[in-house]
Symmetry: C2
Subunit: 339 residues, 2 copies
Amino acid sequence: MTNIQDILAGDRLSLSRILSQIENDTSEGRSALGELFPHTGQAHLIGITGAPGTGKSTLVNQIAYHYRHSEGEGEPKKVAIVAVDPTSPFTGGAVLGDRIRMQSLSSDKGVFIRSMATRGSLGGLANATAGIVQAFDAAGFEIILIETVGAGQAEIDIAHLAHTTIVTEAPGLGDDIQAIKAGILEIADILVVNKADRSGVESTERALLNMLKLAHPVKRIFSHHSRPATNSPQPSENDSPIWIPPVLRTVATEGAGVPELLDAIAKHRAYLQETGELELRERARLEAELDNRLQNTLVDRWRDTLKSGQYEKMLDELVARQITPYQAVQTLLNGGKLK
Amino acid sequence: MTNIQDILAGDRLSLSRILSQIENDTSEGRSALGELFPHTGQAHLIGITGAPGTGKSTLVNQIAYHYRHSEGEGEPKKVAIVAVDPTSPFTGGAVLGDRIRMQSLSSDKGVFIRSMATRGSLGGLANATAGIVQAFDAAGFEIILIETVGAGQAEIDIAHLAHTTIVTEAPGLGDDIQAIKAGILEIADILVVNKADRSGVESTERALLNMLKLAHPVKRIFSHHSRPATNSPQPSENDSPIWIPPVLRTVATEGAGVPELLDAIAKHRAYLQETGELELRERARLEAELDNRLQNTLVDRWRDTLKSGQYEKMLDELVARQITPYQAVQTLLNGGKLK
């Protein structure tokens, strides 16, 4: 058995072991999560997402490096990186990502890097990622960077795990109208034009600013996504400042613009705290996790009640077009009877 | 009420009306789908996916155009385009896509274009897309092009709706190791390097071929994804040919390479039929739809049994870290009692 005290005290080996248990959703992992959960809620969770080719991994490395090496009061913050790769269900896309991590990070005991690839369902991945983030949080990592590779709904869901979401773009991808997605922009708290030493940086920036103008009225929807019970703080319509996502330039390969990005993250954190939005996001985050777990558990329980061969028989009839999908669902959920 | 006979006879107005009902999952839509479903199973479903910036929409337009205008025996085939945009949950990304569709397509009565954006859950989108595709199939559209915008798990799920999946790439995106995703390659039946008049086309092609070598052993997993009941055809390990995804070049803006792409699609269709793989994919497709619908229905039914305020109370305790997510699920699913 893993000693929870070792993990809370920051023992890397114990943490590493339990992360695997959590990712594989074993009973040991679930039990450990239960013991770790009361110790969570301290870390600042930062999501980084954006289209392929925008240099996210390099930027994430640099953010971690700057948190470890920037001058400031006290000890440098402990940083965890969770690299999520929902597009690679079978081969080791996420593992490949690890190999090109900076050497200086892998030898730093204040940094912990964990890659995850899809195992089975997307819901399973979101659950596992939430669990991994909680373990890091409980283990005292103050900054948790959640990097997602793609630009689809899966990434939006995972970005919802974060307190601050950074969306990356790069010049030269924007000639296609689809390269800049309004849906992605709506989840952005900070926009980064990476590879800003390339030509076309101005037009990418301009496109982002134009899209922001469109996205902005809608963005407020997220602030009210989770309805709190009575007595929870709620930003008032009148006196709360509104966060307008800044558009920053970086050249991640050289670290240029990264200190400014860290400043923007700190400002966003302060904004979240001042307005009560931090608690709203915490609530939305836990609500999403709860819904996801409820759904998976419901399906598992129902599956256990199925008689052997019942599902296959229904599928056979469906393939033969003898019944419709709707009829198949009704029959299976009503214990073999069409209601 | 919609007259199902009108839709089966190819009346565009009736079809258009019912597509909205299906997308919004109304009772009329569900009832119509039930009547249409026995008439499905004739169309060839072609998925087109790939990273943003690879020119998918233009390519899809050209594929449709060539199906309508290529010389061959008999009438040109009726073509439906379903443009799915899971990255834009709020604003009209998908609608924007429509505006830049080719004029020549929009005036062709043998072509029907339908855009869809996320409404609520991803599962809802996949369901709605499956329904739309079935309606087109029943209405006599012989070619159904399913275009997805992103490159995440959502797109992989939707690509699983298809018989033939085309994955697009473009030169100049591939300088990032993440631009070419093994996970996406594994679902590809045909690979297209679009924008092939750009420099760097050889290196993109080479990268794809190298990734294919890695992906190929894993690809066979898909052939056995759905286990058929007895008597269903199954490709034998010994005498079945293996499909190696061809890598084709296109310049979609000029239509170059598109006739060759149509040839490759026809060859893939013949391969699917000869090997029995077509039936396996049909089965896998309907199985995925069944699972998705089962899951949504289970969650809806459970939600109806909840007492008012019960869910919010549990969420409050979760936010306060008084209980763990696992405990919250157990309590909610056991009617308020922790088991």
